[in-house]
């Protein structure tokens, strides 16, 4: 027995004395007849929502019973608490702007990084292929769509997930060697993470567009935007991202689908240094306008912030908290701390969404992007209650958004000490998705996301909610179970 319990043992009957001397407050689990009876006697009873654990799956429930047996439950609980502690201690900063080939670990000249779990060229979805072709044209490796497609299929180009290189990318998430990248450092744990700069809305590479204007914009970002941002950070100093995200959450952002406040705050941070930089006035104005015109500019910072913190909890023995949720447009995948680098995948689901003028569900690509790192980090869908402006996604009223976030506490290992939600009395956002709780409760993480057109070259067609496939959580859960079963045999 651990010390926490020993200290309780001495107290003897204190718990019962407390019960007898305070008001009885009941949580009722089961027939509501009993709740009604208690209320009829002017007592207080909260009717608890209860669903059959593991959605009634006997095999999973038997596994759950083992995982919830004292010793194992305790060790999971401790490991998960430690993970939440690490996430809460983590302090991500913007430390600079670099170049993929120079800064991203393991980056190579013939390597293209992409969102989600591993995927081959053949299996890539339309927008992912479009983005890859666009990147090859941008790099000068190909001159046309045809050439780019041939090169991509030739085997001379390698494809690896961003996640394998400390990097995350929204939507297609394609990163090629010359692209400029944000360098984020979780100072507490010395973990770096990388992400490209956000290109804006409309026809953009991350949605699979690769027309000339897309490549031209990427070139401008490389030649003008990135150097100026790099200089501004050198002048103004590193930027505390944890604080910016915390502030943005109190200004109506949730950090995934709404980044208007975060983008504004970032501009405030950067503007004086940009003005003091050596760039031309025209470039300064263009850079400021570019950031201003793009509400999602900040998304490419919330994402690597999350990545730099979540990487710090990878590989903790007995820890069932997710370190990644990511989609490549073909498959949805997750990683679990104690299970290391293994991906658990299933076909990427459809997004239930609202569409931009003229587009319909018919046009939509299945779910894509690394941006679910936000939810894994405890913001995005998990902070929906902080973002009343986008409650349309979750049913239309601020009350729906509250419910949405409250539901996520059910599957989280803890709460954020930095990211707080005004409407919930400044309660910390649900943080650290516990795969055991996901399977136990039958509740999948809430994710809100953008929707890409299924064909390359078109771009964003809408945004909405996506329900991750339960099977990836169940598969990971079974791996957790097998791990503990083996461990029990080894140390009887």
């Amino acid at each position: 027995m651990d010390s926490g319990m020993d200290s309780k043992m001495g107290s003897g009957m204190d718990e019962l004395k407390d019960l007898f001397s305070s008001g009885l407050v009941v949580a009722n689990l089961g027939s509501d007849v009993f709740s009604d009876a208690i209320r009829m006697q002017d007592g207080t009873s909260f009717q608890v929502k209860w669903e059959i654990p593991c959605r009634g799956d006997e095999k999973l429930f038997s596994a759950l019973e083992l995982l919830r047996s004292r010793e194992i439950d305790r060790s999971i609980e401790q490991a998960n608490s430690r993970a939440v502690e690490i996430l809460n201690e983590s302090h991500p900063y913007i430390v600079g702007v670099g170049k993929a080939i120079d800064d991203i670990p393991g980056m190579a000249d013939n390597l293209i990084l992409h969102a989600g779990p591993p995927v081959t060229w053949d299996a890539m979805c339309g927008p992912m292929k479009g983005a890859v072709m666009g990147a090859l044209i941008y790099e000068g490796f190909a001159r046309s769509e045809k050439e780019a497609a041939e090169l991509a299929a030739s085997g001379r180009i390698c494809f690896e997930p961003c996640h394998h290189h400390g990097t995350v990318g929204p939507m297609a998430g394609v990163v090629s060697p010359s692209m400029p990248v944000w360098i984020i450092e979780n100072k507490t744990h010395g973990r770096k993470a990388y992400c490209t700069l956000n290109e804006g809305l409309g026809k953009v590479l991350r949605y699979g567009a690769f027309s000339e204007e897309v490549v031209t914009r990427l070139k401008w970002m490389e030649a003008t935007l990135a150097p100026l941002l790099r200089e501004a950070i050198e002048i103004g100093g590193e930027i505390d991202l944890r604080t910016l995200i915390a502030q943005a959450l109190q200004m109506g952002d949730e950090g995934h689908n709404r980044n208007r406040a975060g983008t504004s705050l970032l501009i405030r941070e950067l503007a004086p240094a940009i003005v003091r930089s050596g760039a031309s006035d025209a470039d300064k104005a263009e850079v400021l306008s570019f950031m201003h015109s793009n509400d999602h500019f900040f998304l490419n910072l919330t994402m690597p912030a999350g990545k730099s913190c979540l990487d710090a909890i990878a590989g903790i023995e007995g820890c069932t908290v997710l370190t990644a949720m990511a989609r490549n447009g073909t498959e949805f995948g997750i990683r679990v701390s104690m299970l290391g680098e293994k991906w658990f995948t299933a076909p990427a689901p459809r997004v239930d969404g609202l569409y931009l003028g003229g587009f319909t569900e018919e046009d939509a690509n299945p779910d894509i992007g690394d941006s679910t790192i936000c939810e894994t980090y405890g913001i995005g869908g998990f902070a929906m209650a902080a973002a009343p402006a986008i409650v349309e996604f979750v049913g239309g009223s601020p009350a729906d958004a509250l419910r949405f976030t409250l539901n996520m506490y059910e599957i989280s290992a803890g709460e954020s000490s930095s990211f707080r939600i005004p409407a919930l009395g400044f309660r910390g956002t649900p943080t650290g998705i516990d795969v055991v709780k996901v399977v136990e409760k039958g509740i999948v993480p809430a994710v809100n996301t953008g929707i890409a057109h299924k064909d390359p070259g078109i771009g964003q067609v809408g945004a909405g909610l996506v329900e991750p496939p339960m099977s990836v959580f169940e598969d990971a859960f079974e791996a957790v179970y097998e791990h503990f079963k083996t461990r029990m045999k080894e140390e009887p």
């Binding site: 309780k8 043992m9 003897g12 009957m13 204190d14 718990e15 019962l16 004395k17 019960l19 007898f20 305070s22 009885l24 407050v25 009941v26 949580a27 009722n28 689990l29 089961g30 027939s31 007849v33 009993f34 009876a37 208690i38 009829m40 006697q41 009873s45 909260f46 608890v48 929502k49 209860w50 654990p53 429930f61 019973e65 919830r68 804006g200 809305l201 409309g202 689908n257 709404r258 015109s293 609202l354 569409y355 931009l356 003028g357 003229g358 402006a389 986008i390 349309e392 996604f393 049913g395 239309g396 009223s397 009350a399 729906d400 509250l402 419910r403 409250l406 506490y409 059910e410 945004a463």
Partner: protein, 523 residues
């Protein structure tokens, strides 16, 4: 036709606008809708949809743009109205219940630190699972559910004991904590008698009699579930509850009510009580060793337990209440008039402890009582659905409740069985317990009365009309108080109007039955 409206400097979030677009596109005759901020991206989309730049000349990013393509002019007003209303009104609130959302157990316990007890009535396997979580979270637990394995029960209770937490149950039908009845509980006043009960209806009977007959109240009633006193579980919660009441300043006298415990466990319980010094009335169903020993009093009946408890708490009680001489005389007379072939007692009980007590008390006067209760040397029933000779059945037993609600909630089977016993020419006396209280049937007595009225008047089949004087006597006791939601007085009146002899309590009921049988033999 195409239509464009620009609303200067009107900002709405794009997601809200997408929803409005979606709504408007559902209107008949509307082929294209874009309600959006007039950003360059959106204006590009508009161009692609076939709108001319001239149509939205001068639009700025802060302007709200409404673009429509319509099959005819006639829908324009309707579409614009709808869009304007949506833009102005915002989304309709969906329910006012925002804060009071029902959450799962973990989240509920985390967000409401003041919750101190978790009441569980779930299928057995899940009950143990959730109970463990509640205990881990430092909360007391009451498990109403049965079908929890004895091993789970043992583990839960040992764990709880270490943390000073209660586990009431599994199969704990009733408890009263701080004056609030949990599960099936009678409305009794708060007072200074504390109870520990390893028996549901036993506890209800004692607390109801205390309230109704002696005006005495309960400080706390800790239920433990009947299996607590088994060797496997070791009486963990009975002993813990007892210690808590000994420590509790608001408790003056203590009652322990239990189905028959394991011998060793009984001794341990008695030892704890003895050391406690407070007056303690101990009632193990069926015990015959009736005595007083320092602060301890051992009782044979539930009614006697209530009487001793009232005295122990300092009440000046005149004498043992509940035996109505007139009623005794009446049943004696009625017994004499009965046809010679009628010779057996049939007890149809909804309360297990009440049934047990009936078996023990009736065995003073009659032999060979068959019962589905597994007690003493009493012969069992091959088929609990068929009465044999003198029979006492506990209708709350698993065999009757599988796929059916407990008879304290749903009397359908009891009424069916009542009819069968009435039709049996060998039935002399039918005994019933009518249990009131929170959670119980809303008017069990009245329902029985109605069934009897129908049966005894012959119902639909004239052939079944009984000769006057040739029918079984029906007797009942009501376990309940005047404060119970069912209305005690109405229940009693209804039963009496249907010719039922109503005793004050279960012991009184058994005495009545024995008196009637005596009349049978004398006659």
């Amino acid at each position: 036709m195409r239509h464009i409206t620009l609303k200067a400097s009107t900002y709405r979030d794009s997601v809200a606008l997408m929803r409005i677009s979606k709504k408007a596109s559902g209107l008949e005759g509307v082929s294209y809708v874009m309600v959006a901020m007039a950003t360059d991206t959106n204006l590009d989309l508009l161009k692609e949809a076939g709108f001319e730049p001239a149509e939205f000349a001068g639009a700025k990013a802060n302007d709200l743009l409404i673009a429509l393509e319509l099959e005819s002019d006639s829908v324009l007003d309707e579409a614009i109205d709808l869009i304007e209303k949506e833009i102005q009104g915002g989304p309709a609130p969906s329910g006012a219940e925002s804060q009071e959302v029902a959450m799962g157990l973990d989240a509920t316990l985390k967000s409401r630190k003041d919750i101190n007890l978790v009441l569980i009535s779930l299928p057995g396997r899940y009950a143990a699972y959730e109970a463990r979580k509640a205990l881990e979270a430092g909360r007391h637990v009451m498990i109403f559910s049965d079908n929890v394995t004895v091993e789970d029960e043992r583990q839960l209770k040992l764990f709880a004991e270490k943390r000073g937490l209660l586990v009431m149950g599994p199969d704990c039908g009733t408890a009263i904590i701080n004056g609030i009845g949990l599960g099936f509980a009678n409305e009794v006043p708060r007072g200074d008698i504390g109870m520990v009960a390893a028996s549901g209806t036993g506890a209800q009977e004692v607390s109801s009699i205390l309230a109704r007959c002696y005006g005495m109240g309960i400080s706390q009633m800790i239920g433990t579930g009947g299996r607590d006193v088994s060797r496997e579980v070791g009486g963990v919660m009975v002993k813990m509850g007892l210690r808590a009441l000994i420590d509790d300043a608001a408790t003056r006298a203590i009652v322990v009510v239990s189905k028959h415990p394991d011998r060793e466990i009984a001794d341990e319980i008695i030892e704890v009580a003895r050391k406690g010094k407070k007056p303690c009335i101990i009632h193990f169903t069926g015990q015959t060793d009736i005595r007083s020993d320092a602060n301890l009093t051992f009782t044979r009946t539930l009614a006697g337990t209530a009487f001793e408890a009232a005295r122990g708490a300092g009440k000046q009680v005149e004498g043992f209440t509940g035996f109505d001489e007139d009623a005794m005389g009446a049943v004696l007379a009625a017994g004499r008039k009965m046809r010679p072939g009628r010779k057996y007692v049939r007890g149809l009980f909804s309360g297990g402890t009440l049934a047990q007590e009936a078996v023990f008390l009736l065995s003073d006067g009659i032999k060979d009582i068959h019962t589905n209760l597994k007690i003493g040397d009493f012969p069992g029933l091959d088929d609990p659905g068929e009465s044999v000779g003198h029979t006492i059945v506990d209708l709350g037993d698993d065999t009757f409740t599988r796929g059916r609600a407990h008879p304290m909630i749903d009397q359908a089977y009891r009424l069916l069985r009542l009819q069968r016993e009435l039709d049996d020419p060998e039935t002399a006396i039918i005994l019933l317990d009518v249990v009131l209280g929170h959670g119980c049937h809303e008017a069990p007595g009245a329902e029985i009365a109605e069934a009897l009225m129908t049966a005894l008047s012959g119902g639909e089949e004239p052939g079944k009309v009984k000769e006057p004087g040739d029918r079984p006597l029906v007797m009942a006791s009501i376990c309940g108080t005047h404060g119970d939601p069912q209305n005690y007085a109405n229940e009693r009146r209804a039963l009496e109007a249907a010719g039922v002899y109503v005793a004050e309590h279960n012991e009184g009921l058994c005495k009545l039955a024995l008196a009637a049988l005596k009349g049978r033999r004398d006659g």
